[in-house]
Symmetry: C2
Subunit: 221 residues, 2 copies
DNA sequence: TGGCAATATTTGTGATCACAAAAACTGGAT
DNA sequence: ATCCAGTTTTTGTGATCACAAATATTGCCA
């Protein structure tokens, strides 16, 4: 019983580990990550790290410098605008595709997640908030079984997460609570209203990013 | 003068090599590719192949079997529908984002490519047709400098290419020429008409795939 | 103190190997 | 011929190493 079919490879474990770290804001934009550094930190050899980093750079969650070094990408205003555009068009479509698969159970689950998000904000638990918020969106998009949209959406989330975690603090969440938009999403789902759902998704995404004012932008132009 | 900054790594060369092969329809859906096989074929060691394959599986251009084998993915009707949806929403947005960067020179270039596409069809040159067709779309989407939409769009193209090359033959191209749709695209670009451009892009994409009738689908269900 | 050349260290890439699991093949029994 | 157990071959994964380029550090001189 050394290794079985269901055992994930080391490379896969490292990948998921790093991906969660990125989504949870544990990596600050600009810092560089090294193969040997992570290998020692995670207690594995270089190979699984290399492969995990290769995957993450392919997804643009990390970027390669011209000399092959790996780092957490820095955000620019132009890039943020395009990432928002990408999120809107992909997630709108994914949500609309999900409509035929929405049942009462799913609506119940989303409502519960939405309540939990509120509670996270009240008790100032940023980590839990990020998780619940992510789960709210991803369970919706995954309602329609497909391996097409989710990888694309995940790539975009990975690209915005380090920046958002850096700038969007709990104060933002308290004053710009996304809860109302999520209620609109659930409402539209209940009505099987594709158009309304599209608007609600777009509003939610814009709202989440739009609360960033100029002075929130990290230093240096 | 052994290696300089501009020299691409072996891994990068292998990746681009395989990517082009995929886009040009040189890999049939269902066949499996092996590290050692490609290593011998391309005359490099296993490492560059491993990394290139890891990138391509991350992009869903290739897929991993439950036991870690790599193969060219097979198409299903459901997946094709979603890939078409993804192409439409991504490429619509990318084209619209390109509008501010369109000048006469770009329109000239696109018109030329469109003519060349016609010539490829006339002289039955499928390889050249695929290249020109790809270049038409990608030069348009790349008019707006960005590293956000292109990787997403490329991933989707990589996923449809092996299947399309298998099913869409030259006969299809002759009877369902995409030329008219491309003219609409160029027209809308000239008018800076975002709405019209969106419709034209969607029509072009649907048209390219929609010409597939049931009997064109490869065997077995 | 500030700039710069020489040196030392860190880093990614590519190569090679052992290993275990999976797949392909073989041969015999029914 | 068909099925199945036993064997051989193929395959991906992970580990380790050499190497050269990039980066960091040092120490000297103006």
């Amino acid at each position: 019983m050394t290794k079985s079919l269901k055992d994930k490879t080391l490379q896969e474990q490292v990948y998921e580990n790093l991906k969660l770290g990125l989504l949870n804001g544990e990596f600050k934009p600009g810092v560089s990550v090294t193969i040997r550094g992570l290998a020692e930190e995670l207690g594995v050899s270089a190979m699984p790290i290399r492969e995990a980093l290769r995957r993450l750079t392919t997804e643009r969650a990390l970027v390669l410098t011209p000399t092959g070094r790996v780092r957490v990408p820095c955000m620019t205003r132009k890039k943020l605008n395009q990432l928002v555009s990408a999120r809107i068009c992909l997630e709108k479509q994914a949500a609309i595709d999900a409509i035929p698969y929405i049942d009462d159970e799913m609506i119940e689950a989303l409502s519960l997640l939405n309540d939990e998000i509120d509670q996270c904000i009240e008790r100032n638990d940023y980590q839990a908030y990020l998780q619940k918020h992510r789960r709210f969106h991803f369970t919706l998009y995954q309602a329609a079984p497909s391996d097409v949209f989710m990888p694309l959406i995940e790539s975009v989330w990975l690209q915005v997460s380090p920046f958002l975690s850096l700038t969007l603090s709990l104060e933002h969440l308290q004053s710009y609570n996304t809860n109302d938009r999520h209620v609109e999403i659930i409402q539209a789902l209940g009505d099987r209203d594709a158009t309304g759902l599209g608007f609600a998704i777009e509003a939610d995404i814009r709202h989440g990013i739009g609360s960033l004012s100029e002075k929130d932008w990290p230093g240096g132009g």
